[in-house]
């Protein structure tokens, strides 16, 4: 490669840092939507790089459904402390207690939809005008249509058919009072890019991504972790398996894969050989053909 040429990972990194700095420059009160998953961890890492040697100028906003992996919460607290970032943790339980939302009932009840209300309320209460997330265009077909700077109206809704065109590296973050933006700095990254970047930058990730032994239940073609929120159905049994998670969502809806990948190098090799998409084990995406679009229009991440 010639001297003045970046590798694709460096180019993606540089693009993401540029976008994050635009957010800082164009908005009054931006934040990072932090789920504890690898993508939002990478965005947080990039934000540190963007403003170094200054501290990261954004709070980490974590919508806490109460259905978390304990490992995720521990990781979140440690990271915020290490980088000196403020933590904002709106609770879904609080939205339920206040009567803003009602807990789902039925067989596949989850708190996935409920967090939309908690998120939108938190945006209003904290006055956030831009929230950055780790969504990537390659992970889901509705996300493939996302802009870097994605406008939300004063109801927090996304209008996918009326998005602003984005040309060169000019980002239009203009909005009216009460509206906000969702910004996706790693839009152009693939799952493979994320893992390669984590490996080459040696970024810490929750142990859940690494193969480990865990009590699990076979359900919906995947290994669902056993937890206090799960009720065994007829014919189901708890078994102990060596598994790892490719994505992290609520403990109630995130399935794991059997795996021996207990180092980052092995994970990268596993991702390279994977024949299933990473969200294939996410019950929240399986509700309908357009469930992600439907949730996004309402204000989902």
């Amino acid at each position: 490669m010639s001297k003045y040429n970046l590798t694709h990972l460096k180019e993606l990194e540089s693009e993401a840092i540029y976008v994050i700095r635009e957010v800082f420059a164009q908005f009054e009160k931006p934040g990072i939507l932090f789920s504890g998953g690898k993508d939002s961890i990478v965005v947080t890492h990039l934000a540190r790089k963007a403003f170094w040697p200054a501290r990261i100028p954004f709070p980490l906003v974590h919508i806490d459904t109460g259905h978390n992996f304990p490992e995720t919460i521990a990781f979140r607290n440690d990271l915020a402390k290490e980088i000196g970032a403020e933590l904002v943790v709106p609770l879904v339980q609080e939205s339920i207690d206040k009567g803003r939302v009602r807990e789902e009932t039925g067989k596949d009840a989850s708190r996935n939809w409920l967090q939309i209300t908690t998120l939108l309320d938190a945006i209003e209460e904290n006055g956030f005008d831009a929230l950055m997330g780790g969504a990537r265009r390659d992970e889901e077909k509705a996300r493939a249509k996302e802009r870097f700077f994605s406008h939300r109206d004063d109801f927090g809704q996304w209008d996918p058919k009326n998005q602003r065109p984005e040309l060169w590296n000019i980002f239009n973050g203009k909005k009216n009072f009460g509206e906000h933006f969702r910004v996706f700095p790693i839009s152009n990254w693939t799952e493979m890019d994320v893992w390669q970047y984590i490996l080459s930058e040696n970024i810490a990730i929750p142990s859940l991504y690494i193969a480990h032994n865990r009590d699990v239940i076979r359900r919906g073609g995947t290994w669902l972790p056993n937890s206090e929120f799960i009720k065994l159905r007829e014919g189901e049994e708890i078994v102990n398996k060596k598994i790892r998670f490719r994505t992290l969502g609520d403990i109630t809806i995130t399935g794991g894969d059997e795996s021996d990948a207990d180092t980052l190098e092995k994970i990268v090799a596993e991702v390279a050989a994977a024949r299933q998409t990473e969200r294939g084990n996410r019950a929240d995406d399986k509700r309908s053909e357009t469930s992600m679009e439907d949730r996004k229009k309402e204000g989902y991440f």
């Binding site: 490669m1 010639s2 003045y4 970046l6 590798t7 694709h8 990972l9 460096k10 180019e11 993606l12 540089s14 693009e15 840092i17 540029y18 700095r21 635009e22 800082f24 420059a25 790089k49 963007a50 170094w52 040697p53 200054a54 501290r55 265009r137 390659d138 077909k141 996300r143 493939a144 249509k145 996918p160 058919k161 998005q163 602003r164 065109p165 984005e166 040309l167 060169w168 590296n169 000019i170 239009n172 203009k174 009216n176 839009s187 152009n188 693939t190 493979m192 890019d193 390669q196 190098e265 994977a274 024949r275 299933q276 998409t277 294939g280 053909e289 357009t290 992600m292 679009e293 439907d294």
Partner: protein, 420 residues
């Protein structure tokens, strides 16, 4: 585990075309043959195709993800697709060719190194071929690859290929593109896409994938004219960096080195680069498109919207600018309307003073009579700004030569333009 993945380059290319010229088939083949389609995605697409009564697997359903797109079987918006081979990572901006075609094609083209143009061997060069090629030229995409597709339907005839090539070349003589390649392919049968065709031994050139993997893109960036638009100023509040005043931005052109004499525009003050910082340490030089933070030897009043350049090589600083404008919005501008013009990290108020001519993108004819601005129009206009722009011609630098216009009432991006 080998590290080839860490040595890959990124190539961004754009495609455009109508529903039946085989574009989806071609993209599907590139994705499929490079193992970028997953089994559950393919299963889903197969199920959806059946549900729609199709007798083939419609790979467009992979990224036509919006409810309306799937229901109507059309692509509404630019779709981005990703694939990688051991040599390069590719980003495809797949742009639909109807309704807001200018907006979609221009958007996709704005970041592309290469445009893939598909011609149906049975029909030769058609209006849409010209339109797409012209936009590629207008947006200064450095490389054009013209795929003459469906060769299987014309008996893999060399004569047909040569005739279309000549037809295209005579049209392309009017364009400002310097690297055009022609490849006879059959996306459906796979000829010359990934593997060399056995049916076209008369073709001595490379396959499409080989071309995409090997075309020289390192010199697509401007490494001569140093331009550093300042995005923001970094002032840590920690004691150890008490006097640190860093200028954060992404190099838009040229190579900046520690110790270089630089000028700051528009003020004109000069200083020297004290250091170029990244979180992993200081570096000696920064080039496009790197995101870095610079410190200067002197304390200068400098902030977002300003530009750091070399003292002996400066952009034009002016409030009058001629622009090739692409109008995106459904409604044209009100007479004497004011806009916010965004350029690099700068923002100014602007007004269109004069429309010089409108360009017919199918014939390249300049229309000086009908100067009414409508959606999809491409026009040459003179614009006046309230504050000076530090500008280059778009030909010289795509990043310091491009602007967008934002309507202050609706906040919408209504137009994009290339500085002449």
């Amino acid at each position: 585990m080998d590290n080839t993945y860490l040595d890959m380059e990124l190539l961004r290319f754009t495609t455009a075309g109508s529903v039946d010229d085989g574009k989806s088939t071609l993209i599907g083949r590139l994705l499929y043959d490079s193992k970028s389609i997953f089994e559950d995605q393919l299963d889903q697409v197969e199920t959806s195709s059946k549900k729609r009564g199709l007798d083939h697997t419609d790979l467009a359903l992979l990224t036509d993800g919006l409810r309306d797109e799937r229901e109507q079987g059309i692509t509404i918006d630019v779709a981005y697709r990703y694939f990688a081979t051991p040599k390069r990572k590719f980003i495809i901006a797949d742009t639909p060719g109807h309704i807001q075609y200018t907006r979609n094609m221009v958007t996709g083209a704005s970041t592309a190194n290469l445009a893939l143009i598909l011609i149906d061997a049975r029909h030769g060069v058609v209006e849409q071929t010209c339109r797409h090629s012209f936009i590629a030229s207008l947006l200064q995409i450095p490389h054009l690859v013209v795929c003459i597709n469906k060769m299987d339907l014309v008996d893999y005839s060399e004569e047909v290929f040569e005739k279309i090539k000549a037809q295209y070349e005579s049209f392309a003589a009017k364009l400002d593109v310097h690297d055009i390649r022609f490849i006879p392919i059959s996306a459906l049968k796979g000829d010359n896409v990934v593997n060399k065709s056995e049916k076209m031994s008369w073709y001595q050139g490379s396959t499409l994938l080989y071309t995409l993997e090997n075309i020289h893109i390192a010199s697509d960036q401007n490494h001569i004219d140093c331009r550093f638009p300042v995005q923001t100023v970094i002032r840590p509040k920690q004691d150890e960096y008490h006097d640190f005043r860093g200028y954060a931005g992404r190099v838009a052109g040229g190579v900046f080195k520690k110790g270089d004499e630089v000028a700051v525009l528009p003020s004109g003050f000069t200083s020297k680069i004290q250091a170029i910082h990244t979180m992993t340490g200081e570096i000696d030089e920064a080039f496009a498109p790197m995101s870095v933070t610079m410190t200067l030897e002197d304390d200068i009043d400098l902030g977002r919207g300003d530009m750091i350049v070399r003292t002996h090589n400066r952009p034009d600083v002016s409030q009058e600018v001629d622009i090739m404008l692409c109008w995106f919005n459904q409604t044209g501008p009100m007479p004497r309307a004011k806009f916010t013009l965004m350029h690099a990290s700068n923002e100014v108020k602007a007004m269109i003073n004069k429309v010089q001519y409108k360009l017919d993108i199918n014939t390249l004819h300049r229309n000086e009579e009908d100067l009414d601005i409508k959606m999809n129009d491409i026009l040459r206009v003179s614009v006046r700004t309230t504050k000076p722009l530090m500008k280059d011609s778009y030909r010289k630098n795509r990043l310091t030569g491009s602007v967008i216009l934002v309507d202050d009432a609706t906040n919408e991006t209504v137009a994009a333009g290339m500085i002449i």
